[in-house]
């Protein structure tokens, strides 16, 4: 009984893990590349950074992780 329950729980956890992996693939760095591109091309070299006010709706990137 106990052994069956352990096997069932293990299988359920494995299924949950595989499902989560399938639904959480990294976006092949596209969001990050966009952000880095914005920083390097719009902002110029780091030492010339001068703060400007945040726009009301900033470019937001979001994905798990």
């Amino acid at each position: 009984m106990g052994r069956t329950l352990t096997v069932l729980l293990t299988v359920a956890l494995l299924a949950l893990w595989i499902t989560s992996i399938a639904h959480n693939q990294p976006a092949v760095g596209s969001d990050e590349q966009t952000v880095l591109h914005q920083l390097t091309t719009v902002a110029g070299p780091p030492s010339t950074v001068t703060p400007t006010p945040l726009p009301s709706s900033p470019t937001a990137t979001r994905s798990a992780g």
């Binding site: 893990w17 989560s20 880095l36 920083l39 902002a43 703060p51 400007t52 945040l54 937001a60 992780g65």
Partner: protein
Amino acid sequence: MGKIKIGSLALGVFTAIGGFVDMGNLVTASQAGAQYRFALLWTVVVGTLGVIVYADLAGRVAIASGRSLFDIIRERLGVRLALIPLAGNLLINVLTLVIEIAGMALVLQIVTGLTYLVWYPVAALLVVVVLWFGSFKFIENAAALLGLAIVVFIVAAFKLATPWDQVARQAVLPLIPPDQGHGQALAAYGFSAIALLGALIAPYEVAFYSSGAIEERWGGTDIITNRVTAIVGIGFGALITVAMIVVAAQTFYAHGVQSQTFVGIRLPLVYTLGKVGLGAFLIGAFATTAGAALETALATAYSLCQFFGWDWGQDHNPQHAPTFTLWYLLAILAAVIIAITGIDPVRLTIYTTALGAFALPFTFAPLLIIANDSRYMGDQRNGRLANIAGVFFLVVLTIITVITIPLFIMSGGGGG
């Protein structure tokens, strides 16, 4: 002070610097800078002073009484009342463990391109292996010393033409940005401040620090070591947190860009320092989150075993302290089960640190009561200054406890 003492003092300071930074700091500080520029720097000052006061206090209680934190809390408050801080600590510790192991796995995601969920059980297994075979000294020192690579944020902050006069001003003046001064925006600002504060004063840090003093058999002559470690080590650790906020402010905020992901935190370093910045981030972030995962797993087992009077101690062989070993293994298993549901680790980090800030008075109030009890403290009983500081931060934290849930609701789930 002899040569060995100076050595152990230096080591204590270095480990406190590396050990202070964790997943909570990385996420909340980066988001604070990206969203509010320097407007949440005052939180770092308040949080750092608070954690110094209570870390010193926890160390002093351990040195003076020679007894562990939850052992005394249970005796002083009685079993029923003491169950409240114990339950709060256990819940927050397990959630913290989830996010710290996620931090390790996310670094592996950056390196390999495979989702962090693939790496999560591997990172958890690494934590188990180190806990099983490693001594307390190894766990305390190795991860924290490698974690010093995270000082790369300070280097980047200096390279970004930071207006340090504005940084200094906003570190001491809690100025709310005009466009965040009302309604939901103000609630989101307040909730972000609480999350950052919770990241700075994580409950596991105090439990680990106190238990560590007993593991290392600190005695009366270590009172100074305790105080210097708390002030200098945590102080430098806070400077790294300030640098994280500054770097995010000078890049993400300055150009109206937000990246609300963990892997995005590295981008300002890549932009500022190139491959060196990336390498230092990967080493530092992996080591600090691994160190925090180890400390949190141990803090969970420490708290339970100290409360119920079971044998505890990382330097015991697992066969000699089986209950202690079982509890940290169960905590890690619980973290794995929660994580593999695919819960967003960044959102969970913000909620966990805010929940940590919410629950702090339930641990700190008993600590303050014990520090004033001469039966436990003898001549190391709290003085007037320590009591003023302790009560001040307890009042601040109690206010936070009262407003956390309303702010969470008003900000629409923490904002962001």
